[in-house]
Amino acid sequence: MDQPVKRLKPATGDSLENERRLIERARTYPLAFGELFDRYYDQVYRYLLHRTANVELARDIASDTFHIALKKLWLFRWKQVPFSAWLFRIATNEVNGYFRKHKNYKTISLEDFVDLLTEESSSADFELLQSEKELQQKSDFMRMHKLLSQLNARYQSVIVLRFFEEKTLSEIAEILGKPEGTVKSLVHRALEQLKEGMKS
């Protein structure tokens, strides 16, 4: 029967050294930046969806993240860590910043979303609606997100990165710009708070 498609070695290569070269090229060549976008957009979008539980918001913050990454790419300094850590850091700052500014943030209901659609709505709007519907059907995640959203932003970040995105402690340390030991205790405290939240 059919087998999974064998992944051939990508043209740009997977090693950190190749990634460093790709980032160098991406500073001036759009296609190289496109390659970075292809590699990391889905990861960043999914991280933001975990944080926001809202398709439209995740899409908008992912868009901001990549616009900022492009604008600040010339400031990026290569430190032998994957480029994704830098992108996740931008995404984390953006999503935390969003929630700071919108303390009383409430997600728009599916019914309201449908009401906003008209014949003139673009295919992107309908696609968004479809994605939102699929998300709402993931009841396990929506229940967990409700509990997570009660935690402060730092704890939300570490829980999502550690258990949803399956990042290692050292990767999370790179993303948050904190020592690994601090991240470890943040994860511990976040889990404790989450347990408290579940009790109540």
Binding site: L8, Y45, I159
Partner: protein, 347 residues
């Protein structure tokens, strides 16, 4: 609840696999056309200008730069209009159009070199193994009839309503057509026991990749709303290429199938799965077309179709235009008897 149980709960939560593709592609186009890159290009030009002026007199340098610097483009359409007029100027009335092309793939299938002579409705196509020079196929179309000399080909029988086409050359590819889907079967490598099966809709058609002339490519790109101007590249040997990109993010499927007695049966089953929408999500692929235009000649130099899955390139079809010219009409070019070709009758 203890901590371990909580961690298990967290780890088992799932998100939908779907990433909104329309928004993603729109953002990609925005980023690739961002003013950031135009500024970067200006910065490079400025550095070049400063170095030149340091060496020669300022006025001379300005004149030289003005002459040497290729025109700049801000949109795909502007660039396409520019090269379309260059192609139109070259077209020779009453002459045969000659094109020599190299086909290559990332997955290492036999590289092919194709020579094509065309004049009105007549054409003559000779295909060779680009490494050994061995002739693989020779086809002439004249007076509405096809004449050919082809290698023996494998035939696959699919248990679906189908229309079979003879394979273009000896790469053992078979194309079949149902109402909505087209299928291409190619061996992964010459000695491989694996077949690559592409199932696709009209959004991407490998025929369009191999059969069009550069001018036809330009003309079809001009009407394609998905074309993006992706900026300028300088090769290591100093050639300047303008780059266009087309992203076909439609549902396309790629499977690896064992090359055995059951291959036809397996492929039929896969087609049926795709038709019913039951194919695994992970098999869906995207195709990105990248077109490089040589600014010395104002002609398309290279076209590649990058087959991508989960953001990575898993295979690539490369087409390089090695030579293109107009030559005086010679009836021998389209004479099947002179070239020992037999009339081709489609089954």
């Amino acid at each position: 609840m203890d901590t371990q149980k909580l961690i298990e709960e967290l780890e088992k939560t799932e998100l939908p696999e779907r990433v909104p593709l329309t928004s993603k592609n729109k953002l990609r186009r925005q980023l690739l056309n961002a003013s950031y890159f135009k500024k970067a290009s200006v910065r490079r030009s400025t550095i070049r200008y400063v170095i030149s002026t340091a060496v020669t007199a300022a006025v001379t340098a300005v004149v030289i730069l003005y002459i040497m610097t290729p025109p700049t483009f801000s949109s795909a359409n502007e660039l396409l209009t520019h090269i379309e007029s260059a192609y139109t100027r070259l077209a020779g009335d009453g002459q045969i159009h000659y094109l020599r092309t190299l086909f290559n793939t990332l997955s290492g299938r036999t590289p092919l070199e194709e020579e094509e002579w065309s004049y009105g409705h007549q054409f003559s196509v000779k295909t060779r193994n680009a490494v050994t020079g061995e002739e693989l196929g020779y086809t002439i179309k004249t007076n509405g009839k096809m004449y050919s000399r082809q290698h023996v080909q494998r035939k696959f029988k699919f248990n679906i309503e189908e229309k079979q086409f003879p394979a273009k050359n000896n790469d053992k590819s078979i194309r079949t057509e149902t109402k909505d889907l087209r299928v291409m079967v190619v061996p992964l490598r010459e000695d491989s026991k694996t077949l690559q099966v592409y199932i696709f809709n009209d959004a991407w058609n490998p025929d369009s990749f191999s059969k069009r002339t550069p001018l036809e490519i330009v003309q079809s790109l001009k009407t394609d709303s998905l074309v993006t101007y992706a900026g300028r590249e300088t090769s290591s040997d100093g050639n300047i290429y303008e780059v266009l990109e087309v992203n076909h993010s439609k549902d396309l499927y790629l499977f690896n199938v064992p090359d055995d007695q059951k291959a036809s049966q397996t492929i039929s089953k896969l087609i049926s799965q795709v038709e019913k929408g039951e194919s695994p999500r992970s098999e869906i692929i995207d195709v990105r077309e990248i077109i490089r235009i040589d600014m010395k000649t104002n002609k398309i130099f290279h076209v590649s179709h990058s087959i991508r899955q989960n953001g990575y390139e898993i295979d690539r079809f490369d087409l390089t235009f090695l030579e293109e010219k107009y030559i005086n009409y010679d009836p021998n070019v389209f004479d099947p008897l002179r070239n020992n070709l037999k009339e081709l009758v489609l089954e």
